[in-house]
């Protein structure tokens, strides 16, 4: 599903922060992406999400060479990917419900066709009582769960999560991990970027370890 060949990334004229990355992410797979802070985990996630283009090398996503994609094709590919970022990126003027429903809304679907699904998921992540609240009044953990719900609501083929349990207590962390595992079992490939060893120890999965710009894969 994802294939990287000799991918390098640098910002401007700075040094290469990702070097010679060659790896594959099979469909339906589950992996943790880990490494020390500043190792380039977020940059690699951004490459996977097509919000960055590699400086060199080949990135093939869903069978398509990303360097050949136009803007509309990138938008179409992104509909197949869900992403959870460290800073949540919720829209402050929309309720939690509206934020989570956003991936459906941008496809032009009528609200009545997804309302039940959104409400069920919000209840599942423990935001059933907060669906009418605006993000500024949510706690860090609630924002985190809302961001995760938004990323998974459309059942993406690939889920990218950047430190998804960074702002939640261990109990909720386990619950969220279970959500990711359930999603993976239903066919979504999952990449979770984290340096939370406890989280990784809870589930036996492939580990992609970034160190000094290079990637080491532990099956």
């Amino acid at each position: 599903m994802i294939r990287f060949e000799n991918v390098g990334l640098r910002y401007g004229l700075g040094p290469e922060i990702l070097r010679d990355l060659s790896f594959q992410v099979p469909a339906h797979s589950f992996q943790f992406l880990t490494g020390p802070s500043g190792a380039g985990k977020t940059s690699l996630l951004r490459l996977l999400f097509l919000s960055l283009r590699p400086t060199r090398g080949l990135v093939n996503l869903f069978g398509q060479d990303v360097s050949l994609l136009g803007k509309d094709e990138v938008a179409d590919l992104r509909k197949r990917i869900g992403i959870v970022l460290q800073d949540f990126r919720l829209l402050d003027h929309m309720t939690t419900y509206e934020n989570v429903a956003l991936p459906f809304r941008v496809t032009g679907r009528d609200e009545s066709t997804y309302r039940r699904e959104v409400i069920d998921l919000l209840k599942w992540v423990g935001l059933g009582e907060r669906m009418d609240a605006l993000p500024p009044v949510l706690s860090g953990g609630e924002k985190q769960r809302a961001a995760i719900a938004r990323a998974v609501i459309a059942r993406p083929q690939l889920l990218l999560a950047d430190e998804p349990t960074g702002n939640v207590d261990p109990t909720l962390g386990r619950r969220l991990l279970r959500l990711f595992i359930e999603l993976n079992k239903s066919g979504t490939a999952v990449i979770i970027a984290t340096h939370d060893i406890t989280l990784m120890d809870q589930y036996d999965a492939r580990r992609l370890v970034l160190h000094q710009g290079r990637l080491h894969v532990y099956e």
């Binding site: 990138v74 179409d76 829209l91 509206e98 991936p103 941008v106 009418d132």
Partner: protein
């Protein structure tokens, strides 16, 4: 907060632009909040620009309509001047010339001015009470041709000079040409002002669009994250700009129409004054015809369309930069 017994549930308030509404009713908030776009300033700019454009177009329409009226009136008129010459009887010459002109095909009416009437024409320059017997006052004959008639002016001129060698025929062509040049210059200046107004509108809208996009950059990024295409995002912004452009355009156009609507009354207040008379001479009754109002409406729609196009172009350019 205890909401027991409260049917409305939690209320949310996002500022003056959006009143408090029950949160449950807000399942479909606008993706781009209206309050995030500098709306009032842009409405004012578009309103002023539309007003200026409408006033310019209205003035050009008035001038050209008046000029056309003048030209058609003057173009159907011929003036023959018979100068007194020693040894000739001017009265006989005038009568002969008037008869000859009357016999021309297409001439509807011939009016020779009497000696007294010719004298009155000179009064503004020479003053009244002057004995005209001492002056060689030329005599005027005004002939009115049927509209659309093409007179044989050269033939007429030669026949008239045979009857009265001192007579000259003037079909006002030089004057009409000057009038036409003046009208063309007015129209040209009006079009120039319109072009400048439209350019200024495009620049203002482009700046406002860039500002709105910069203020809403986080929203654009999130929309990109959830797979929205540039077209979808641009349309969410464009909706606001269309509304603002429509509001501004309507205000400007209605204000200009009111100016033209009241101008007739204003012209009446000033009638009798030198300024009023000058304006009346140049612009006629100062009232716009119904077709003129239609032109103003069409022009407003055009400005709104240009506003939308300028916003759309800027939106896509900015989206390219953001992604």
């Amino acid at each position: 907060m205890n909401n027991a017994g409260n049917d409305h549930g939690v209320l949310v308030d996002l500022g003056r632009e959006r009143p408090q509404v029950p949160a449950r009713a807000r399942n479909m908030s606008p993706i781009v909040p209206r309050a995030s776009i500098a709306g009032r300033a842009l409405v004012a700019v578009v309103a002023i620009m539309t007003f200026l454009a409408s006033i310019t177009t209205g003035a050009v329409l008035l001038v050209s309509a008046s000029a056309t009226e003048w030209q058609s009136e003057v173009a159907s008129e011929i003036t023959i001047q018979v100068r007194p010459v020693a040894g000739r009887d001017i009265e006989r010459d005038v009568t002969a010339v008037a008869s000859a002109v009357r016999a021309e095909p297409g001439i509807l009416d011939v009016r020779p001015y009497t000696r007294e009437e010719s004298g009155k024409l000179l009064e503004p320059w020479l003053g009244s009470g002057l004995s005209l017997d001492d002056l060689p006052v030329p005599r005027m004959i005004v002939a009115r041709a049927a509209p659309g008639t093409r007179l044989d002016l050269e033939g007429l001129r030669s026949r008239v000079t045979q009857l009265a060698p001192s007579a000259s025929v003037d079909d006002h062509r030089a004057w009409i040409n000057r009038m036409r040049s003046m009208t063309n210059a007015t129209v040209f200046a009006g079009v120039g002002v319109l072009v400048l107004v439209i350019i200024a509108t495009i620049i203002s809208v482009s700046f406002a669009t860039r500002g709105a996009m910069a203020a809403n950059r986080p929203i654009v990024e999130v929309l990109h994250f959830v797979g929205a295409s540039d077209r979808y995002i641009a349309n969410r912004f464009l909706r606001h700009f269309l509304r603002l452009g429509f509001e501004g355009g309507t205000i400007g156009c209605v204000a200009a129409m009111m100016v033209f609507g009241f101008s007739e009354s204003i012209a009446t207040w000033f009638s009798g004054t030198p300024v009023g008379d000058q304006f009346a001479a140049l612009l006629g009754t100062f009232s716009l015809r119904p077709s003129g109002y239609l032109v103003l409406v069409v022009q407003t729609v055009l400005i709104a369309a240009i506003t939308a196009l300028a916003a759309r172009r800027t939106l896509f350019a900015t989206l390219d930069e953001i992604d």
